[in-house]
Subunit: 208 residues, 2 copies
């Protein structure tokens, strides 16, 4: 069995928004950005395949669990120590939380790829699939004009909508990515997403 096949097994009961297809998309983006930025592609291959494997134990602090499982998998496949250390650093910092700062080129690329999968056409699909899963309305009319969107994000889960998610979070991702190629992709995906939501508003009003 290849590492990819082994990782796939871990995701067989995952929810649609964070299943093995997410891992594969992050992998594809890592390869694309990695080639452009001249990164270590073997580190990126392993890091992208293994970064979310800890979600099997729950979403919170999943990077900690991912590291534990990733170490075992890499030992099984006899990955060399240097590669292993870099992969672990990538996984540890892929959420850029709790002072876990992506320091290597590969860690920055994994962080970017994971964020990029939340925007563009796929970001829209994921936001609406998550919304459906959690009983969210498609939008509330006031979402489009709400200036105080941060406040409404703190309202209860049921009142959240994919439009609020876009305005308060997804539209800002482009300003957080770390690599040049990541920024280029983020700007382009953001433009597409922005047009989508402008269009959606017009359709809702019966203008298109």
């Amino acid at each position: 069995m290849t590492i990819e096949e082994e990782v796939k097994e871990y995701f067989k009961n995952s929810k649609p928004t964070h299943d093995f297809s997410h891992v594969k998309r992050v992998y594809n983006l890592c390869m694309k950005i990695g080639k452009k930025e001249k990164a270590d592609l073997e580190v990126l291959r392993l890091a992208s395949l293994l970064h979310d494997i800890g979600r099997i134990k729950g979403d919170e602090d999943h990077e900690i669990h991912s590291i534990e499982i990733a170490e075992k998998v890499m030992d099984k496949y006899k990955i060399d120590e240097k590669t292993k250390r870099n992969v672990i650093h990538c996984i540890k910092t892929h959420r850029y939380r709790n002072n876990a700062v992506p320091e290597t080129l590969e860690a920055k690329i994994l962080y970017d790829a994971d964020k990029l999968d939340a925007i563009g056409a796929i970001g829209i699909c994921r936001a609406y699939s998550f919304g459906g899963e959690n009983g969210q309305k498609l939008y509330r009319k006031e979402d489009f004009s709400n200036k105080d969107i941060e406040v409404s994000r703190k309202l209860d889960h049921k009142k959240h909508t994919p439009v609020i998610e876009y305005k308060a979070k997804l539209s800002r991702i482009k300003d957080t990515v770390l690599t040049e190629e990541g920024k280029r992709i983020a700007e382009e995906r953001n433009k597409f997403m922005k047009n989508f939501f402008l269009r959606l508003e017009k359709e809702i009003k019966g203008e298109l």
Copy 2:
């Protein structure tokens, strides 16, 4: 209370893909198409507000239940007999099933408006929200190349995806609409939706 407020009450526990926001969008489209096609706007107002009200009793054959409730509501608001008859015909034929053929201009417009709300940006949102609600994957890789898409639609519900829904059903809606203005809107929305799914495929492959 206005009829609109009264109808809204019926939808307070509806699922996101068929809630009062759907009714409002269909209403807006009916007004847009109705003005262009010089239809009876009062008939369209009542027909669009009342067409899905029977869903409170379940989705199957909901047009039958909608008629029952719509008659009571229209009696309460003292709607004249001629308008009432035309509204009932619109509701009865809005799904164009079981030989219920939309014969009047207003019935054709309601049919078109209801179908148009399944395509374009809003169609994408609804397809993914429905998918999330029913545990569907965002796509299967083979959905994009599958030539035998009709067969896969008949697979079990869990294997269905919004991409199959688009290829087998939503992409064909433009050929079923009945009015000139409906056709114009459908062509334009279809073009947007087609580009969205072409783009989605490229993003998935890591090309964008």
